[in-house]
Amino acid sequence: MEAFLTVDDLKVHFPTVDGVVKATDGLSFGLARGKTLGIVGESGSGKSVSSSAILGLHRGTNAVVSGEIRLDGNNLLALSDEEMRMRRGKEVAMIFQDPLSSLHPYFTIGNQIAEAYLVHHKVSKSAARTRVVEMLDRVGIPQADRRLNDYPHQFSGGMRQRAMIAMALINDPSLVIADEPTTALDVTVQAQILDLLQDLQRDFNTAIILITHDLGVVAEMADDVLVMYAGRAVEYGPCKEILTHPEMPYTWGLLSSAPDLTASTSGRLLPIPGTPPSLLNPPSGCPFHPRCTHRDKVPGDLCRTTLPELLPGHHREDHTKRCHLADPDTVFRTEILPNLAPELVEESS
C-alpha cells in the first residue's frame, strides 16, 4: 500500500510570551488514496492544528511548523506560499466543523462555492455555475439550480454542511480533511452526512482525514485510527485493531466515556478524570500519567520520568502505542471491556 500522504515528525509550535506552546510535537502517519484516517482526541490535543498545517493554514501566522508533509511525493512545507495556495482547495480541501460560521453570511451559497472553483479553474462564471449546480445536486441538495442563490442562513444545518462538502469537493481534491464535520449537526443528519462522505470517497477515490472525538463515527468511517494526546500520537493503527485491542489507557478512557445506547439510564459513563494538560507546561514523562488510573501497574517512577516511545504493541507490527504497561491486554480484558458500550465492540469486531 503506497502511502499517498506521509506526515513525518510534524511539529507545530506557537511561541508566546509565556513560552513555546507545542500544539503538535512530532506527529507521523501515512494515508493511502481512497482510505480514511480517523484522528481522535479531546479538545486541545492538537488534532485541528495538525490538519491545518497540512493545508498550510499556519503560514502568515507566528506558528513554527517543522518536519515533513509529503503529498504525492511533494514536501508541502518546502513549497512557497504561492505554490501552497495553488494546492489549497485544489489538491487538499477542508470541511469545517460549524458550517454556519464557516460560510460567509453576506455571500450566496452559489457565489461561495463558485469562488472555490474559479480560483483554480480559468472558466467563465456560467461554466462555474453549472459546475456548482452539479456539485450541489451530487451532495443531495434539492432544486440546486434555485437554492444556489440562497444565503447560508436560509439553509438548514445539514444542508449547509452538504454545501460545505460540495465546496470542498468541487475541485476533485485527492485529500479531504474533515474537521469534526458532524459535531454541529443533529444525530439523524450526522448519519446522512457520513454516508455522503463515504459515497463521495468511493466515487472520487479521495483520501480522508476525519478529525473527531466521536469513536462511533470512527468505527463506522475510518480504516486507520490515530489517537492524539497533548500534541502527540499515543496509539496508531488499523481501526478494527485499535477498537478491539486498545493498548493505551487514554484510548480505554475514550472508549469508556462513549455512551451506551442499550444500557439502562441509571448506568453511568466513565469520564476520564482530570483535564487535558497545558501544552505550555506539559507533564513530565508520559503526558497522560497524571490522569492515568493504571500508572501504579508500572514499576518504579517510569511514567512520571520517561516519555514512552511509540512502539509496536502485542498484536501487530502496524499497531503502535505509547505506554509503559507490560501487559495491557490483560488489563483491557479484565477491567475495561466488561464496562464498554456493546455497539462499539460489535461494530469494531
Binding site: R85, Q112, E115
Partner: protein, 338 residues
C-alpha cells in the same frame, strides 16, 4: 418592506412631535422671560406686556405649541397676535409650511435663517465626511494589516494625538500657521458654488472641513482597524483561505465586507448630527452655518430660532436612523424588514 418604511416614518413623525413638546416644555420651564429679551433692557412693565402679547407669549404653552405644530403643517402668519395682524397688515410676515417659527430678533422667519445657513453646514459636513471616510477606512485597514508593526503603531499613535487636541485648538492652529503665518492657503471664508464656482467653494472648505474631519477620522481609523482585525479571525475567513483564495481577496472581499457593515450605522448618525451644524468649527472659522446660528441664537435667547434648529437637527437624526435601518436590508441578507 413598504409597510415597514411607512411604519418607521409614522413612528419618526410621532417622535418629532414629542421632540417639539419636550423642547417647548424645556424652554418655558427656564426662568428667562422671552418677552423681556425681545423688548430690551429699558422696558416698562406695560411695554413688556405689549411685547408678550404681540409675540404670542401670553398664551398658555400648549396653545403656543399647537400653533407651532399647525405652522409646521400648513404655515402661519407673524406676528402671532391676531389683533396686531388685523390692525397693522403691513407688518405681517407669512411663513410657509413647514414653518419653523419667526425670529423677532432677526426680523426674519426661522425658515429663511435656516435656508441661508444650511448650505454652509451641509457643504462642511459633506466634504468632511468624504475626507474622514477615505482617511479613516484606508488608514484603519492599513493599521489592521500591519498589526503590531511600526506603521500600525504610528497610525494608532497619530489617532490618539488627533483625538487629544480639541477642535478649537486645531482650528486656530491651522488658521494661524497655514493661513496667516505661512500663507499657503487662503483665509477660509465661505463661498457658495453660485458665487465662486466649485473650485473656490472647495478651496475655502478645505481647512474647516479637514479640522472637522480630523477627530472623526481618528475614531474611524480605530474602529475600522478593530472591525477588520475582528472579522479576519472569523471562521469564514479560514474557509476562504482554505479554498486557496489569494490573500488580498480574502482581505478585501471576505474580510472588509463584514468589517465595514457596522460602519454604516456610525456614518449615518455622525453625518446626520453634523448636518445640524458643527458648532465649534463654524464658530472658529466664522462660517455662517447652522452651528453658528445655534450659538448666536442661544446667546441672544432667540427662542424661536433655538426651537427651530433643535427640531431640524432632531429630524435629521430620525431620518438618518430610518435610512440606516432600511439600508441594512440591502447590506445584510440576514436582515428582513417586517
Amino acid at each position: 418592506m413598504w409597510a415597514y418604511i411607512v411604519r418607521r416614518c409614522a413612528v419618526g413623525l410621532a417622535l418629532l412631535l414629542a421632540l417639539t413638546l419636550v423642547t417647548f416644555a424645556l424652554f418655558f420651564a427656564s426662568p428667562v422671560d422671552p418677552a423681556r429679551f425681545a423688548c430690551g433692557k429699558n422696558c416698562s412693565e406695560q411695554q413688556r406686556d405689549q411685547a408678550r402679547k404681540a409675540l404670542g407669549y401670553d398664551k398658555p404653552v400648549y396653545e403656543q405649541w399647537g400653533n407651532f405644530v399647525k405652522g409646521v403643517v400648513v404655515g402661519r402668519d407673524f406676528p402671532a397676535d391676531p389683533e396686531l395682524r388685523a390692525a397693522a397688515p403691513e407688518v405681517v410676515t407669512h411663513c410657509e409650511a413647514p414653518c419653523l417659527g419667526y425670529s423677532h430678533l432677526n426680523a426674519r422667519t426661522v425658515n429663511e435663517l435656516v435656508k441661508d445657513a444650511a448650505p454652509v453646514s451641509i457643504s462642511l459636513a459633506v466634504v468632511a465626511l468624504v475626507m474622514w471616510l477615505i482617511g479613516g477606512v484606508l488608514f484603519g485597514i492599513l493599521a489592521a494589516v500591519t498589526k503590531g508593526s511600526f506603521m500600525d503603531r504610528g497610525i494608532v499613535g497619530l489617532t490618539l494625538v488627533a483625538y487629544a487636541f480639541p477642535t478649537f485648538f486645531i482650528a486656530v492652529f491651522f488658521l494661524k500657521y497655514l493661513a496667516v503665518k505661512w500663507q499657503v492657503m487662503p483665509y477660509p471664508a465661505y463661498t457658495s458654488i453660485e458665487e465662486g464656482g466649485i473650485a473656490a467653494w472647495m478651496l475655502n472648505l478645505l481647512m474647516p472641513s479637514f479640522t472637522l474631519a480630523l477627530v472623526f477620522m481618528a475614531g474611524y481609523v480605530r474602529m475600522t482597524r478593530a472591525f477588520v482585525l475582528e472579522s479576519m479571525t472569523e471562521d469564514y475567513i479560514r474557509t476562504a483561505r482554505a479554498k486557496g483564495l489569494q490573500g488580498r481577496k480574502v482581505l478585501f472581499k471576505h474580510g472588509l465586507r463584514a468589517a465595514l457593515t457596522p460602519l454604516v450605522t456610525m456614518v449615518g448618525l455622525d453625518f446626520a448630527a453634523l448636518l445640524a451644524g458643527a458648532i465649534i468649527t463654524e464658530s472658529v472659522f466664522a462660517y455662517p452655518g447652522l452651528g453658528l446660528l445655534t450659538v448666536q441664537a442661544s446667546a441672544a435667547y432667540d427662542l424661536p430660532t433655538i426651537i427651530g434648529v433643535v427640531i431640524l437637527a432632531g429630524s435629521f437624526v430620525i431620518l438618518a436612523n430610518i435610512i440606516v435601518d432600511i439600508s441594512y436590508a440591502f447590506i445584510d441578507p440576514r436582515v428582513r424588514l417586517g
